[in-house]
């Protein structure tokens, strides 16, 4: 068994994973927390993306809006990641065999990468354009990419539920 498989088995065989599988309320409860957190992650990121695209919050400088919204985004992301990991633990092997789950993880990675690239490259001259109602094209591309990636993340999340029968 590879180290990765051992690690997966360790989580899946843990008493926490067992409790989530066995208890009728625990799985839907964690799932509900996961949905609330994902909604806040996606909704708050959309606020920023719509600003980057020049569609909304046009009177707010990008930097200021970002620092106002991101604390909510990151807090919600931590809750979404933790609750998501608990759900994953309970049926780890099945999730890893599910294409939509793997795609969802890859898309979240891509959304993160898009954000890092945006901060590193596009936002270097932020003070020059942040007050403009319509940011430069490269910024709008980053915003559009982010919107599409997060829509795809939510879609994959929903499709996981339809391709793993016993999870509803």
């Amino acid at each position: 068994m590879s180290l990765f498989q051992q690690l997966i088995a360790f989580f899946e065989d843990s008493s926490i994973a067992d409790a989530i599988r066995e208890n009728d309320l625990l799985f839907p409860l964690i799932e509900s927390v996961h949905v609330v957190a994902i909604c806040l992650v996606v909704g708050s990121i959309l606020v920023l993306d719509l600003r980057l695209l020049g569609f909304a919050s046009l009177d707010r400088p990008v930097g200021r809006l970002t620092s106002a919204v991101l604390p909510l985004t990151w807090s919600a992301f931590i809750v979404a990641a933790c609750s998501g990991f608990l759900l994953f633990m309970s049926h780890a092997t099945k999730y890893l065999a599910n294409g939509y789950f793997i795609t969802k993880m890859a898309l979240i990675g891509a959304a993160g990468l898009n954000m890092i690239v945006f901060h590193a490259v596009a936002a270097r001259d932020l003070p020059k354009w942040e007050a403009r109602r319509l940011p430069p094209p490269r910024v709008r591309v980053a915003g559009a990419l982010s919107v599409l990636l997060w829509i795809a993340v939510v879609a994959c999340g929903r499709w996981i539920g339809f391709t793993m029968e016993e999870l509803q």
Partner: protein
Amino acid sequence: MEALLITFSKWLASTEFSHTIQSVTWIIPTLQTIHILCVAIVFSSAVLVNLRIFRLFERDQPLGAVTRRFLSPIWPVLLILLLTGSLLIIGEPRRSLVNTTFYIKMSLLLIAIVLTALLQRTVLASPGFFEKRQTAIRALATVSILVWSGILFAGRWIAYTQAG
């Protein structure tokens, strides 16, 4: 009453429109995805305005401006929620119409709509009203977020409480 709902659900499920939604496999997950994305917009907007009420978001902006930016777009998005939600019911009538959780969700939604409209109207019509009533507006914000969260929980729970 329940017998009536079961009969109605059976009839609805037997319509051709419902058959289409049931048999084309991508329709229900797509509707659910649009539904959740709209929930994300409405819920995040409500949370941001309520964070502003607690002075945890855009303190440098007047509450009226934040409310206008975030609460006004809620209403058209709610219409999309109503539409996708209705289509989901037509596709799987028994899943929600014969399910107590669904009615809890709808009751909470009604409360959330009243609270949100009340907040929006008051803040926009008389900006000074809540200045001296910080406790009142914070209570309203807290209750509103709890009710919205309840809607999201109930929404997920519908899948677990559907009749056989």
